[in-house]
Symmetry: C2
Subunit: 106 residues, 2 copies
Amino acid sequence: MSTTQMLKGIIDGCLLAIIYEKEVYGYELAEKLEQYGFDSFSEGTIYPLLIRMQKEESVSSTLKKSTAGPKRKYYTLTPKGEEELQQFIARWEKLQSNVNLCLRKQ
Amino acid sequence: MSTTQMLKGIIDGCLLAIIYEKEVYGYELAEKLEQYGFDSFSEGTIYPLLIRMQKEESVSSTLKKSTAGPKRKYYTLTPKGEEELQQFIARWEKLQSNVNLCLRKQ
DNA sequence: TTCGGTATCTTGTAATGCAAGATATGTTGA
DNA sequence: TCAACATATCTTGCATTACAAGATACCGAA
């Protein structure tokens, strides 16, 4: 993952972090991101990302019955996903530092 | 500018911040970004951005002779650009806080 | 006069976030 | 019973983006 991916891929990292914390399903992820202050990540953003991440073997999923509604697809991190989370954190911290260097000057 | 633009448009904000600090030309901007820790923003990224920002009247430019080489196009912020810089700073701070909320949990 | 460094710009590509909407399941109440 | 609603996932198509690669041009010095 290059710097490009970093700039564009901030949500990926957030998803990894939330999944790491606790097994969650897609719909729940959208709600959590909103709780954390993001302005509305539609499912049109999240589901394709989860599918991609599963194809890349960063997450795995299992279907479970819901109390109300169709089956939920719960996601957990694979070892590869955990590694990617660590790499994301490192890149995110570098990005923060770089951008803040640009801004501090004024 | 939406959240999408925010995620993708971090470099825009950095350019605005650097130009605000001091009149600069494109080639110089690429060097500064590298100084600040960014991993190599090629001119293929920066020049199209500057052209777009000028079209949107966030920056204005004047040509000046160089000590060595072709004329340099020096950029300064317009009032609109200054306003956008302030908006970028606000969005950047919100983004930092949101992402760090996701990460802090683990 | 040619070579290397400086400087800007263009073209084409892959990836991204998302709006919009399709699809499916379960609960509830009229 | 069955219509309405909330839950839940997935797909399609679009505009934007960062960037690699390379074209163009100018200048000074060897």
